[in-house]
């Protein structure tokens, strides 16, 4: 198995948990023990079995499981689920089916089911993909689902997104145009300029790009493609037109762990579910930074 959770991490997590839960420790322990044995999905399972028989095909899912608290799950493992296949079924549909019919403790983030909330980027058959936007029929079966690489696993398919959010926040991801724009009147923006930033504004913060980038995996301080893209969105917006501000944005980007770290691996661009040309944006910013430096030469 290529996906490993080192033990000390599991320990750290569960002891932290035990502290938080000190007051309720004994009932919690008891319940753990008892529930471990109680397997009571009988009727649901029977129903699922019937559905599988009725469906022409069933698809096999291999899902990464890990829970720092639950015995038997502390050591990561893969569980298999057989889910009846229906036309149009997405990876997310299959996961939800497995959860609702076999194992309610199967944990993953999801919400919109339409590729706008960015909750369900996962590592599906070896690639970062948005589960709700990935058709089962487009994949090789069995389908292997793992949490996003290069991020801490909280539980099962849920990863800790904090580092990603921190990087996003570090590029001052907010409009800083004219504070005194006349009220009641919009700022003007050309169609061309809006077109220029259009793709960059589509990011849904799913984190797939960051997870796919080898440099981000190695260098934790690297801003990463999503954050750089966010900065691009503002840097290129003509409504933010003060020179000082542009300088300021470039300075954030050209720090040692900024744009220069990108090695044009293109993995980010390949996996972005919103088809944002991330590498292109990063490259453009590198050139901007160089131009800006040469200006003062």
């Amino acid at each position: 198995m290529s996906t490993q959770v080192p033990e000390q991490e599991a320990e750290a997590e569960s002891s932290a948990e035990a502290e938080a839960d000190a007051s309720a420790e004994s009932p919690q322990d008891k319940r753990m023990a008892k529930k471990a044995e109680a397997a009571s999905y009988r009727d649901a399972q029977k129903k699922a079995q019937e559905e599988i028989e009725a469906a022409e095909r069933s698809v096999q899912l291999k899902v990464f499981r890990y829970d720092p608290e639950v015995e038997g799950k502390q050591e990561p493992r893969f569980d298999e689920f057989h889910v009846p296949f229906t036309k149009g079924m997405t990876v997310l549909d299959a996961l939800m089916y497995a959860r609702d019919h076999y194992d309610p403790s199967l944990t993953f983030r999801h919400s919109c089911r339409q590729a706008v909330c960015g909750s369900d980027a996962m590592f599906v058959n070896g690639q970062q993909r948005l589960c709700c936007k990935t058709q089962m029929s487009d994949l090789d079966w069995p389908v292997r689902v793992e949490p996003l690489p290069h991020q801490d696993v909280v539980k099962d398919l849920v990863v800790d997104m904090q580092h990603f959010y921190d990087q996003m926040h570090s590029v001052e991801p907010y409009f800083q145009g004219d504070e005194n724009a006349p009220s009641g009147e919009e700022q003007k923006q050309t169609r061309e300029n809006r077109e220029k930033i259009k793709m960059s504004t589509r990011c849904i913060w799913c984190g797939a790009c960051m997870s796919s980038c080898n440099i981000a995996a190695g260098d934790n301080e690297y801003l990463g493609p999503a954050a750089i893209n966010k900065a691009y969105r503002f840097y290129m917006d003509e409504r933010e037109d003060q020179e000082e501000l542009e300088e300021h944005r470039l300075r954030i980007l050209e720090q040692e762990h900024g744009v220069w770290r990108c090695q044009t691996q293109f993995s980010c661009t390949e996996v972005c579910p919103k088809d944002i040309p991330l590498t292109e944006h990063i490259q453009e910013l590198k050139r901007e930074a160089v131009k800006n430096n040469l200006k003062f030469w």
């Binding site: 948990e17 919400s111 339409q114 409009f175 809006r194």
Partner: protein
């Protein structure tokens, strides 16, 4: 215990706007939200934001359209406030960098929308909601407003006077989803509920999985009446497997609907001989369902929407995103095959009763966004009117909660003023879902000693919630919440959707009672405290049961056809009898239906009910 001046529950469009407004008023504000803000369902809105920005348009026209669209069930002060504040709010959002689509002269683009007398829908491509949400979240980051993300709010902490209008809200109780920790959040000034819609009460919806109507249920159990809950908007063209919305644009461009017998049923079965597929949303939805119910649907479930005849060029030019949606979410290529569609729940017009400042009848408790019912949408929401509602009333609630002086509201709340009680007989006794003996009693119900100390009020609520969770986790067997939720969604979709027959609605109420009883047996399979979504969904299911019941009760009581609410036995609008809001209040553990007249008197004129024809 965490402490802030203002606590905003929910990080969608309404919540973010409220937080920014409160912050600008100088309050220490925090957002507590079960999803990270950018994951909120506001991001799914496509169409646009209505605001009268241009010459030739003005707020009065916007108000008039909205009032007419609401089938005269919107309150004029609310509707006019929406229309008056929307332009400024939209410009404000533009100043915050929202990437609106642009005209050649660089101004913000507007497009025509159903029911509008002027093209006043501002938009940002086909992803207006996404940009709105992200633009506001960026402002929240800029201001350093504290966000507790992935904290699930279970309840508000309210004092327990007998009369809800005398109660005060001092905070809320939330669970850190990541660790399972349950903590109190004390709010010095107020709590704003902005938790979005309740689409999950139906089994087929354009809403997100997280739209479980928590805010409605929380406010309801705390004693705030729910208003006009029977008005639920169904969209006729959603993809069957996911509920993803296929925009009206397809039919607008000439797409046709047909049934399993290959008939173009809108004409051939006489649902709309003139307009055909372009008839209004509710008409088309009902037609589709009739076809399916009468056995002419595909797989007994859906009908087909066909746009192949439009030709690849035209489709690629104008409907490209539809191709992607059908491909990604249904596995269908719209260029070579028809797309399956069926009606899906889309928007809840009703909600937590508030005044124009988002204030409920409970001191310090606010609601905003889809959760709230200031009453701008009345019986039917116009496309593009929800997003302005978020920012207009979100901002007002935030300001008011932060202590700004907003003047005396014109809309009355709570069981006060000109109200009358209803005496419709319910087929079964409605009630409250919960696990008996598990700290299930709300402040309203337990009627114990009246505590006034804010900290004690919050602490008591924290204790109750801890106990409830402990109880749920320690149960070793029973029913899984997913089975209960499925039953609820089935009966709602069967009986209280676009078709409403008396017997069906009664059946739904009976089913809901059974479901409530089944919920007593619910148990959480997953023993972990870490990211226990099983536990969270189980709590959500309880909220759904309570809300579903109010929807069904409202649907039974209102025996007329108005806006989105259609009753088989009463297919006409009854203005004599029904120019009033349905309110459902919580009386000692029992819902009580009452009514309050609609306010049709606006600032300069009175809106006279007219036939709603376009």
């Amino acid at each position: 215990m965490y402490e802030h001046d203002v606590i905003v529950v929910g990080g969608g469009g309404a919540g973010l706007r409220a937080a920014i407004a409160a912050h600008e008023e100088g309050a220490d504000v925090a957002i507590v939200t079960k999803l990270h803000p950018v994951r909120s369902h506001t991001g799914a809105a496509e169409g646009g934001i209505n605001a009268a920005l241009r010459e030739g348009d003005d707020w009065e026209l916007h108000a008039y359209d909205t009032m007419k669209g609401s089938d005269y069930l919107g309150d004029a002060p609310a509707v006019e406030t929406l229309a008056q504040d929307a332009p400024e709010e939209v410009i404000q959002i533009e100043h915050w960098g929202m990437p609106f689509s642009r005209e050649d002269d660089g101004t913000v683009s507007q497009r025509p929308f159903g029911g509008l007398s002027f093209p006043r829908t501002t938009y940002a491509g086909a992803e207006t909601g996404h940009h709105l949400l992200h633009t506001m979240y960026e402002q929240v980051v800029k201001r350093g407003i504290e966000v507790y993300d992935e904290w699930y709010v279970q309840d508000v902490a309210v004092t327990d006077e007998d009369d809800p209008s005398e109660r005060t809200c001092h905070g809320c109780v939330a669970m850190d989803i990541k660790t399972g920790e349950i903590a109190g959040f004390k709010a010095k000034n107020g709590v704003i509920l902005a938790t979005g819609g309740p689409g999950q009460a139906f089994d087929h919806t354009t809403n997100a999985v997280a739209n479980t109507g928590d805010g409605y249920a929380i406010a309801y159990r705390a004693g705030v009446p729910l208003e006009d809950m029977e008005f639920v908007q169904f969209h006729p063209t959603t993809l069957p497997s996911t509920g993803v919305l296929i925009s009206e644009g397809v039919r607008g461009e000439g797409g046709i609907l047909y049934n399993a017998d290959g008939e173009r049923f809108m004409f051939e079965h006489g649902y709309a001989n003139n307009e055909g597929e372009l008839a209004s949303r509710d008409v088309v939805s009902r037609a589709e369902l009739t076809e399916v119910n009468e056995g002419r649907g595909f797989e007994d479930e859906y009908v087909m929407l066909d746009m192949r005849h439009l030709g690849e060029e035209r489709i690629m030019d104008r409907l490209e995103n539809i191709l992607h949606l059908a491909e990604d979410f249904e596995g269908v290529d719209g260029l070579v095959e028809p797309m399956p569609v069926k009606p899906g729940q889309h928007y809840q017009m009703g909600g937590v009763e508030t005044d124009e400042n988002g204030h409920t009848c409970i001191e310090g408790l606010y609601a905003a966004g889809e959760t709230a019912c200031v009453s701008v949408h009345g019986a039917n929401r116009l496309g593009g009117n929800a997003l302005p509602e978020l920012i207009v009333f979100g901002a007002r609630a935030g300001k008011h909660a932060a202590g700004a002086d907003m003047g005396e509201p014109k809309i009355e709340t709570g069981e006060r003023g000109d109200i009358e009680y209803d005496d419709t007989e319910m087929p079964v006794q409605p009630g409250e879902a919960g696990i008996s003996g598990a700290g299930g009693e709300t402040a309203a119900a337990d009627g114990g000693a009246v505590t006034q100390d804010p900290t004690a009020v919050v602490e008591r609520e924290v204790e109750a919630e801890r106990e409830r969770v402990e109880e749920m986790l320690s149960k070793e067997e029973g029913v899984k919440h997913s089975q209960i939720r499925e039953r609820l969604q089935k009966t709602m979709t069967q009986n209280v959707n676009v078709f409403r027959e008396e017997e069906g609605v009664k059946q739904a109420l009976r089913d809901i009672r059974d479901i409530r009883e089944a919920y007593e047996d619910v148990y959480v399979e997953d023993p972990s405290r870490t990211f226990n979504t099983d536990l969270q969904h189980t709590i959500e299911t309880r909220n759904l049961i309570d809300i579903a019941e109010t929807i069904a009760m409202g649907a039974l009581v209102r025996d007329e056809f108005r806006g989105a609410h259609w009753r088989k036995e009463h297919q006409e609008r009854k203005d004599e009898e029904w120019l009033k809001h349905t309110l459902i209040g919580w009386h000692d553990g029992e819902p009580q239906v009452f009514f309050r007249p609609v306010i049709l008197e606006g600032e300069n004129k009175t809106y006279e009910p007219k036939e709603r024809s376009y």
